[in-house]
Amino acid sequence: MLKSKTLLVFLAVVLVVAVPLTSFAQERMGAWVDDVVLVQESDPSTVIMKLLAGEIDSHATSMADPAAWEQIQQSPILDYSIVYGGSRELTFNPVGPVFPTTDKLNPFNVPRIREAMNWMIDRQYIVDEIMNGFAIPGVVPVPANHIDYSRHASVIRELELEYAYNPEQGSAVVQEEMVKLGATLVNGKWHYNNEPVVLIGVIRNDDERLEMGDYFSNILEDLGFTVDRQYKNMSEANPIWIFGDPADGAWHFYTGGWGSSVINRDSSVRPEQMYTTRLMSFSPLWLAYTPDPRLDELAQRLYNNDYQDMAERAQLWEELLPLTLQDSVRIWVTDSLEYIPRRTEMQVVSDLAAGIGGSQLWPYTLRRIGEVGGSVTLGLQQLLDGPWNPVGGSNSVYDQAAIRGTADRGIMYDPYTGLVHPQRIERAELYATKGLPISKSHDWITLEFVDSINVPGDAWAEWDAAEQRFITVAEKYPEGVTSWTKSVVYYPEELFETTWHDGSQFSIADILLFMILGSFDRAQEASSIYDASAISAYNSLMSYFKGVRIVSENPLVIETYVDSYALDAELAVNSWYPVGNLGTGPWHTLGLGIRAEAAKEVAFSRAKATEIDSEYLGMAYGPTVSILAKHLGEAAATGFIPYEKFLSQYISAEEIASRWSNLQAWYGSKGHFWVASGPLYLERAYPVEKQIHLRRYENYIDPAAKWDRFGVPMFAEAEIEGSTRVSIGAAAEYDVVITFNDQPYLVSDMDVVRYLVISSTGEIVVGGEATPEEDGLWTITLSADDTSKLNVGASTIEVIVTPKAIAIPTFVSMQVIATR
């Protein structure tokens, strides 16, 4: 009896002690996995074979191979993520109607003929038969994964219906316009000046645009044109269509393609880039564009954010979009879809536009479901394309995938919406002058509109490379200066408890050095590392940058004043965390690069390396690592600080000693200088073997579960419920049931549910927003007036579901019979 009591007491003690200990032990910090090995594999069929064999756990780059897709569909152990890729289009030569150099007719000079091509092509056929289903039809210059598509869904849908496949209409327009041009149809072939009208198509032969070009050529031949199909790869085609003078008549149409690797929240660049002469003015083709003056004006106003609010912006878009189709110097054909395969037991965030490799969250979320630790092998199409340095190093998307694994950041891109969330910063404030069309979506930022923003005199306005100091606003603008916006970022006190991978404690000097090196110093001739290739970016920055001010050093608070803004307040925040598009680094490793470039032994940029005939700086591997190692010895011996005159105010003697000692130990152990602060560190890169070994950084301060909520994109699934018959002139009601993973979609997670009612004649007769009733249920109410606009016959109710948590809207439709 005593024994059993003792045993019970003992068990109770064990439970009391062990349970918290167990839960403590389960608090995994940093990455979920212990090791990540990146390997190169470019062949889709081999990727699938390796996935099936377990040799790789997930691929990180998107693919579009139909055979591989088939295998994924058939395999119970493979899963995939969808990625929204680029757009395919047909670009027309607008010169004419007769080419001045050849005297040949160019029908595509006539906007109506170009416009008619929209009716001639069956986009759904291209999607199904040529793109093997890996695309969605695209009619307007805004792809479906851009937020502006959702914002203007009604007008876009209207245009999609108006320009749907209608070869009779297209053919009639071509016939009419060709006659007007003086062409004659002889034995089914168009002739001009007694010669057949020959259209030269430059058809890209390096992807599915080959079949697309052939398809379009067949259509033109059916219309009576003679087509000279010239199949060319990118290198061969570029000198003709982008660099050649379109007046030479060397081509009439080109099968174009445009990439997109981010979820675009503001598509205003598209009309400006695609229909006006301004943004691509170096190309003779673009200079030949003569857009309608209203189209030209609208495109420019949208591009320059020249509007008072979002309502005015919407008006501009809605007026512009039909004009782009009437102009049609290029007609949009499809928006591509791709997939990234993985084994089913794997979980990792995949960016909707950039895939796994392009997602900033992949190192934080990669894991085997339900498993902690272990090793994961990721495949990438290519690896180690160029030297890694965060200032001007490799910008290869493949290298960047690995670099992202090692980097921490101030703010984190949302892989599904293109907005950002705080990562290392705590919160932010944005002050904007009244009238700017800015809105906010998240609670971590506040947005306040003010009459004007005066930049404080003690803010830093510019870097003086000769004096190694910042020029203050008071010095640069004695009369004072204002800015459009002011962002204030607040870092938590824990910022300075974070460490770099070599164990060095994060310091404000890391931020300041990255600021000086990344934004200012290299573009100034007085700098010891002056680089002419940095001037353009610097000029661009200085055109809107007004000042930056360190308000408080600990906790760190930074104000930034600029004459620029984004439509989303979240995207207007500048955290100044030392990470850029090309990577990250602390002041001491970057300082070695500065020393080595000043000694003309290496260069941060390729252009400078060519100029001084040196090696291009790679900090992770390669011949420059030994050069940096040489400088490490000297720097450690002399207590070197880059930009000493300025940075010495922020770096203590202990910090100098510990930094160089940590780096020496790091280099001794790892043999490279890629020191970052993310959840994974670079154990070693194997350049010839094309492998990268990343390991979990155990001192990372965030829990592994921090970003788990992004595990799966919240694609909405929608269904319209209601009567399939509607009486004209009588009210009707339809339910829209919206779910995610069979659970009701929360009203709070939904942006808007829009509906359109399309009559049997193909006209949109009613449109509006559905009313949320409860989570998962929205209602469409059609009044008697609404239904009276319908014709007898089959009408369609289309619903466009636009969630907040994902940029991709869901489309669902239902056919109803309208009766009297």
């Binding site: 090995v37 570029n238 660049v269 880039q273 943004l279 252009a607 291009y616 011949p623 073997e689 094309k690």
Partner: protein, 378 residues
């Protein structure tokens, strides 16, 4: 006394001395002439390579167009450009285009640059690549090529040596058993060599990697690469399938051609005479078959060695092997002329040196061959 041995003093034979002197002069003269001819051939070959690699200067247009397209893309995706005026945008475009064109030397006329390419090539100053870097990040063409040379040689030299040695031995064996079942089997299997080695590679991967999981799918080493001696074991394991693919892709044709070659020599009158004299077959093989065929065998062997350094594009791709074949393919794709020229110049020099050495070796191994004028020719 009469029997006392006296040291023998050989008096130099003036005739023999003159013969040696003539021979030396003749060889020296021949060597110089041959080297000059080979050098001119190399120079012409290199200049043709420069012209072809640049498509007669048209590559300049391609590059200029590429520069403009990338600048256009850069401007389009940069939201900061949105705040600039039209003149600022044009200014940035022009600056970026000019900088890149200058970096690539496109501001100089092609004719001048073609001569510069040639001069650099001849002097083996391979310079820097224009776009690509070596796997380890170096811009030097020398490093780019050298880095891929080791994996290329490990694979192709090993495979070709195994192939060459096996083919010769099997062919000799079969030439002695003309008409046997084995001989007929090899003849029947010879058409299988019509399929390239990468084709066999794919099958081998399918069987040994995907189906039976016995061998790796490709690559040079396991992931992550093991350390120490295990690294070399891993490389050896990864070599098995590509070597097998090269071997299978060429062995039957190779054996068939060598066998036929040996058969021709085996049916010579002097071989029949040797047989009639009762000499052993191995002695006949060594003295009367192998010896006269030695120049051909050596030529084939030497060319095997230097061709091994070129790699094979598709096989390397199938096995994901970091070889020179793929490097050259990528360089052509990027129009990275220094790498294309660099790769060609090394091959051209290797080929020229090999041809020159073969001339000398022929004379050493075959008494019928004499270098220079005045000698008998085979």
């Amino acid at each position: 006394m009469a029997n006392e041995l006296q040291p023998v003093h050989r008096t130099p034979n003036p005739l023999q001395s003159k013969q040696w002197s003539d021979t030396f002069r003749r060889i020296a003269k021949y060597s110089v002439q041959r080297l000059v001819v080979l050098f001119i051939t190399v120079v012409i070959g290199l200049y043709i390579t420069v012209l072809i690699a640049n498509q007669g200067g048209y590559v300049d247009q391609i590059r200029k167009a590429q520069i403009r397209e990338s600048v256009g893309q850069m401007m389009a995706v940069n939201p900061e450009v949105q705040r600039l005026t039209q003149s600022q945008i044009i200014d940035i475009q022009q600056r970026e285009i000019a900088l890149e064109e200058e970096r690539l030397g496109l501001h100089l006329p092609f004719a001048l640059r073609s001569v510069m390419y040639l001069q650099q090539a001849i002097t083996l100053n391979l310079g820097n690549a224009e776009y690509m870097t070596s796997d380890s990040g170096s811009r030097r063409v020398r490093n780019i090529i050298l880095e891929r040379l080791a994996p290329t040689l490990v694979l192709f030299l090993t495979a070709n040596l195994i192939l060459f040695g096996s083919a010769i031995l099997i062919a000799l064996f079969l030439s002695r058993r003309y008409g046997s079942f084995l001989d007929r089997a090899v003849v029947a299997l010879t058409p299988t060599s019509a399929a390239p080695s990468w084709f066999y590679g794919m099958f081998l991967i399918l069987l040994f990697s995907a189906l039976w999981r016995m061998m790796p799918f490709g690559g040079m080493v396991a992931a992550p690469p093991p350390s120490g001696i295990h690294y070399y074991f891993s490389v050896a394991k990864h070599l098995v399938l590509p070597i097998a693919a090269i071997f299978l892709g060429a062995i039957f044709q190779s054996v068939y051609s060598w066998r036929t070659f040996f058969l021709i020599y085996s049916s010579e009158d002097y071989v029949e005479m040797a047989k009639a004299k009762g000499m052993t077959s191995s002695m006949i093989e060594r003295r009367y078959v192998l010896k006269p065929t030695l120049p051909t065998i050596i030529t084939s062997f030497a060319l095997t060695l230097i061709y091994a350094w070129q790699g094979q594009i598709i096989l390397e791709t199938v096995f994901n092997w970091p070889g020179l074949g793929r490097l050259l393919y990528q360089a052509i794709g990027f129009n990275d002329i220094p790498i294309v020229v660099g790769s060609t110049v090394i091959f051209a020099y290797l080929l020229a040196i090999t041809v020159f050495l073969l001339d000398i070796i022929y004379a050493l191994v075959d008494p019928r061959v004499k270098v220079g004028n005045g000698g008998a020719r085979a």
